[in-house]
Symmetry: C2
Subunit: 450 residues, 2 copies
């Protein structure tokens, strides 16, 4: 069997909330103005109560609303594949499986959270959502979600991605959204960045500042975040819950589960449901893969830091490269974030999961081998997971060991042809960890005392 | 049920060959040099014997090789959807189903024939395939197929499409193919076009001439055509064979089956298996949809004509606008062909199927409504079928009639954002049938006497 499909009845009815199963209690989110723990009231200016409750809930299972499952049915359950042709190309004794989220209308895993976020906001009487987007995957997903529920949508898009991925912008507009290159002159945060650096390529951190400010200053508008937060990781667990069922059908259990990791929601979505199996004695390695140009887990510090550059978003305990660190403009725009999901961060800090960083050339090399054997063109972000899966398979070959590898192919790269063009013509830079810039940035962490 | 999935065992084991079920015997293909019926030997310079046999076979069922089914499994069976949200948006009593071929790695139905063509050629010891491509769908599909079987691939891409769809070109290169803008200076056909019109935007007819000439002049190289020919229509019947199973699961039978129609293979693929049911007394309407700028069925003549502009490809009996008619550069590049599959042509001539033409603005309008209700962004070609399906559904509403509509969504439009951009900014031209140019072109039809 090459493709493992599930029927619609197998779309999960509940999301898996990992909070009650974490190794230690989570540190509270901190209000950036008071530097004290944030209250639900602090959050109500930008989030609906239902999502604030999910953010801190200790219930292990949370019901998925029928209206959300109804939209999920447009592409879920997503397929799982056995990568037999890649295995043959590598000559590995390992069996390689991948869970493919590129079948969603936006081409990635992001709609899994965009749809419920739009729905909960509409239920709360909100008329418009503001958000940021890097590679454009999250922005197009929220545009899609808003068009499904009749909400307006304003998207602050990282300026360098706007230039690299013009067709992502068009896609958001096609679904009815307004797209604003960030930093923009429309917000205080944007204006202050432009005053210092008129040519700023932008970053997720800056775009978040602008979107949060927009939402906070308009009562009919809320903010939606595409990663990092607990409720976003929660929504993404549909990926891993389905994948667990599909591995059962395949009759194997993964020795290692691999996913690329930017803000962490893709990684959390695939991995958390498998971590739940550890309670029943299952041993499983989970590997987060990030770019060397933005090595949050592998080279960052575990500390309280702002979620955004302008210090208006909540402070959380997480791995960070410093809130004003601006990563180089690599093509995997979705992995250019200075911080990391607090949940993923604690799991890494406690040694529950592993992390590894790769340069973009070795990721594109892996993506090309994958495209020429399995057919599907991976998104640059997903190519990080492809690289790690191939390396795990080659290690199994070297060691002469049977091994079961599962990785997340979080999106397709059909809108990233400019990146492949640059790679094929030898024009991609590999960025090392810019340690001095980060050391400086880390000196500007907030002084939180609990 | 929104999505109707089939498991891998339901990938058809045989293609359906409509030739024995045609209303009348097919006219023979004619050798363009002798103006006499072409012999298999005439064809051997550019096609392998297995495909020549399929071209004229009168067996109703033809086995699909295991190696081809093995690659089909990467995306087949393709999903069928009930378009419940589109139905609600239209307020129609009709039920609307669509069979979605955009899940293939190339994003359209084209790999259904590219894969077997590459395989039969490799079995025949061929080292390289040459082909033409318009919108780039066929070219990228053949590039994919060649990469799967280790063949080299040279693609003559219509110059205007090269400019409109640069990312399609990149995708072909990603899968290892060489892409040449057509008309090129590399062939006699290309040079003679450029001598008359150095700024020629190119056309499928011209690109076919170049690819055929390339194949005919290199013994290790064959030619592969993405539509029109009987064996291409044959391979595409996997679409309709699966769709018939899926309609059974849905518990409905279509009153009308709709597909866009350029060279005819997409239309043939979805429709032919349903036409087979007419033998058992089923009544079914089949509607071919084409652009007003290239209205081959609705405004062309039924006559012997060349398949290409330079008169090197075989002559067939078909609907045609004249082999040197160059359609305007509309965004649905895959529908810009002067001729039509001889099989589809005879069915239309005999009144078995219907045809209808639309301008591109009304097709994009329909595509936008579809994207905002069903999520998926249609390819410009497929938007012609969306338009017709919506009109059939609105007619059912006007008449207060229950009706079951099935249409083919032959590909996604994620690489066609430039076209959507142009539509959203009001910049698309609608072309009328340029009757004088065609009348002139029809005076240059070949004088075939059997």
């Amino acid at each position: 069997m090459t493709k493992i499909l599930l029927s619609e009845e197998h779309i999960p009815r509940q999301w898996y909330n990992i909070i009650p199963d974490m190794p230690a209690p989570l540190a509270p989110a901190i209000n950036p103005r008071t530097l004290k723990p944030a209250t639900p009231e602090d959050m109500l200016g930008i989030f609906p109560m239902a999502l604030i409750e999910q953010e801190v809930s200790t219930r292990r299972w949370i019901n998925i609303p029928d209206e959300v499952r109804d939209i999920y049915r447009l592409w879920r359950p997503s397929p799982m594949y056995r990568a037999r042709r890649l295995e043959a190309a590598l000559g590995t004794p390992a069996s390689i499986y991948y869970k493919y989220e590129g079948v969603s209308p936006a081409g990635s895993h992001k709609p899994n959270s965009a749809i419920p976020q739009a729905w909960y906001n509409r239920e709360a009487g909100i008329r418009r959502l503001a958000t940021e987007t890097g590679a454009g995957q999250w922005g197009s997903s929220l545009a899609l979600a808003c068009s499904m529920f009749g909400l307006e949508c304003t998207i602050y898009m990282v300026k360098v991605s706007c230039a690299q991925k013009p067709y992502r912008r068009s896609m958001m507009q096609l679904w009815g959204a307004t797209v604003i290159p960030s930093p923009s002159g429309l917000t205080n945060s944007g204006r202050s960045i432009l005053a210092n650096d008129p040519d700023s390529p932008g970053s997720l951190g800056i775009a978040i500042s602008e979107a949060v400010e927009d939402a906070a200053s308009h009562p009919d508008t809320n903010y939606a975040l595409g990663s990092v937060l607990n409720h976003v990781c929660l929504h993404q667990t549909v990926i891993g819950l389905e994948a667990r069922e599909q591995m059962k059908i395949a009759g194997e259990y993964p020795d290692v589960v691999i996913a690329c990791c930017g803000g962490g929601s893709n990684f959390a979505g695939l991995v958390f449901p498998f971590l739940a199996d550890r309670a029943s004695g299952r041993d499983i390695r989970c590997l987060a893969v990030e770019p060397t140009s933005c090595p949050t887990l592998t080279k960052g510090v575990y500390a309280f830091d702002y979620g955004d550059t302008a210090m208006v978003a909540p402070i959380t305990m997480m791995y960070t490269l410093g809130h004003d660190f601006v990563p180089p403009g690599i093509h995997a725009g979705g992995l250019r974030y200075h911080g990391e999901s607090p949940l993923v961060s604690q799991l890494y800090n406690q040694g529950v999961i592993e992390a590894r960083a790769y340069g973009q050339n070795s990721c594109f090399e892996a993506a090309l081998l994958f495209a020429r054997s399995e057919g599907i063109v991976p998104a640059p972000e997903s190519s990080h997971a492809v690289r790690a899966a191939i390396d795990e398979a080659l290690l199994a070959k070297e060691e002469g060991k049977k091994k079961t590898i599962l990785f997340g192919l979080s999106g397709h790269g059909q809108l990233d042809m400019a990146a492949y063009d640059a790679y094929l013509s030898g024009g991609l830079e590999d960025y090392d960890y810019p340690s001095e810039k980060v050391r400086e940035a880390l000196e500007r962490l907030p002084k939180v005392q609990l």
